[in-house]
Each structure stands twice: as structure tokens, then as C-alpha cells.
């Protein structure tokens, strides 16, 4: 057996965008997208996570899921906040994180940028379209 097993994650890096469109509970979409984000992050892929339509509720503060008997996975976004901080500070990590909330969706629901469990960029729809066109892989849920 070799002395040390190292994960070799060097290799191809692509720009991934994840588009969250649905409310957090009631369907499995939101949780599945989050799982996909965490897995692609393990391979140090660029991750641009977008919240539009009812998807903005996924990261709203103050969720209480006891009554629906589901796990409150908005807390899991704490991991993404941590990973983003690491990637932003450590020059050795060649990874770009962006967390974006579409402005129109946010405002239509009476929410503000400080209503979320994670720091977000608030970007209007037309500018978001440009960012989307720059991605290599877009996954929506």
C-alpha cells in the first residue's frame, strides 16, 4: 500500500450554473440541486448558484420545517458560505463561487438582500441572462 492516498482533483474546470426556481419544500428539486452543488464543489468546479421565482425562498432566513417533517436544509448553505470564503481567500483554490438572487423575483415577494441566510448578489433579469450565456453547463431545478 502506498504511504499516502491523495485526492487528485486537478483537471478540467468548468463553469457550472445552478438555477433554483422552486419553493424549498413540497418537491425534491431544491434539495437535489443543493446536493449537486456540493458534489461539483468537491471537484472544485466553478459554481454560480442562482435563485429565481419561488426559488428565492430556499435561502430565506428563519425557516421552521418541523410541521412538514422535512430537514431544514437552508442551514446547509452555511457550508457553501464557508467554502466560498475559503475559495475567495486562498489563492491555491482555483474556484469561483457566485450566489445570485434575481432582483425581480426577490422584489415581487417583498424580500430584501438581507433576508437571506447567505450573502447574495442581487442582479436584474437582463444582466442575469448575460451571465447565464457565459456558462458552460446550466442545471436547473
Amino acid at each position: 500500500m502506498s504511504d499516502e492516498i491523495e485526492f487528485n482533483t486537478a483537471g478540467v474546470t468548468k463553469k457550472f450554473m445552478y438555477v433554483n426556481r422552486k419553493a424549498p419544500y413540497g418537491t425534491i428539486y431544491a434539495l437535489e440541486v443543493l446536493e449537486a452543488v456540493l458534489i461539483s464543489a468537491a471537484f472544485e468546479q466553478h459554481a454560480c448558484i442562482v435563485f429565481v421565482d419561488d426559488g428565492v425562498y430556499q435561502i430565506k432566513k428563519g425557516q421552521d420545517t418541523d410541521a412538514v417533517n422535512m430537514k431544514n436544509f437552508s442551514k446547509t448553505y452555511g457550508i457553501i458560505a464557508m467554502e466560498k470564503e475559503d475559495a475567495d481567500e486562498d489563492d491555491d483554490i482555483d474556484m469561483v463561487w457566485r450566489i445570485i438572487v434575481e432582483q425581480e423575483s426577490m422584489e415581487a415577494r417583498g424580500l430584501r438582500a438581507d433576508d437571506f441566510v447567505i450573502d447574495v448578489e442581487v442582479i436584474p433579469s437582463d444582466k442575469l441572462a448575460v451571465i447565464m450565456s457565459e456558462q458552460e453547463i446550466v442545471i436547473s431545478g
Binding site: 456540493l38 468537491a42 452555511g78
Partner: protein, 110 residues
């Protein structure tokens, strides 16, 4: 399936993962570890306790590299390796340590 500790029964799924996270206790952890043929040492407890704290905070088990980084911080650089983790938990930290910590089976490749 279920575990029996001091006359109390704890439900588990068909692979031996505890159903009710909140019902976990250290005696139960020792029993699960025995089934896994693991003798719990201080180092094992460090990992198990870290997993429980992390799960409480983030509602998910950490990726292996996050676990290794945390162990490195707590127990020293010589122990912050994949190899060390597999010495403690020969069938993998995700599978065995999570089971002993009473967490659900990790999904995906974390």
C-alpha cells in the same frame, strides 16, 4: 432492524443506520461500533463527535476532505490524512463513522 441497549430498543434501517437521530447516546454508539468490529478510542470519539456537531449545524454530513481538514486542526497534521481516517474506520469514514454517530447514510460521493 433495531439495536437494544439496557432494555431499550432503537430502530435502524436495513443497513444499520439509526432512524431517530435524537435518540442517539454513547452506549448505543459503542454497540454500533461493536457490530462494525471497531473498538472506540479517543480518536474515534473525536471524529464521531465532530460529525454530530457538523450535522447539527449544517443538516448534512461533511465531505471527506472537510472532515480530514477538521481532524488535522484538532488532532495534528500527522492525523489529518485520508490514510489515518481509514485506519480508524477501515470501511470508510462516511459509511462507518456516520453510522456510529447515528447520522443517516451520506448521499452522493461525500
Amino acid at each position: 432492524m433495531a439495536y437494544e441497549v439496557n432494555g431499550k430498543s432503537f430502530d435502524s434501517d436495513e443497513e444499520g443506520y439509526l432512524v431517530d437521530l435524537a435518540s442517539w447516546n454513547e452506549e448505543l454508539a459503542n454497540l454500533i461500533a461493536k457490530d462494525e468490529e471497531i473498538e472506540m478510542t479517543e480518536e474515534h470519539w473525536e471524529v464521531v463527535n465532530f460529525l454530530r456537531d457538523y450535522y447539527n449545524e449544517y443538516q448534512i454530513a461533511p465531505a471527506v476532505r472537510v472532515l480530514i481538514k477538521a481532524v488535522k486542526k484538532k488532532l495534528g497534521a500527522d492525523k489529518g490524512s485520508n490514510k489515518y481516517m481509514y485506519e480508524l474506520f477501515p470501511y470508510g469514514p462516511a459509511k462507518q463513522a456516520c453510522k456510529i454517530a447515528g447520522l443517516p447514510k451520506p448521499t452522493g460521493c461525500v
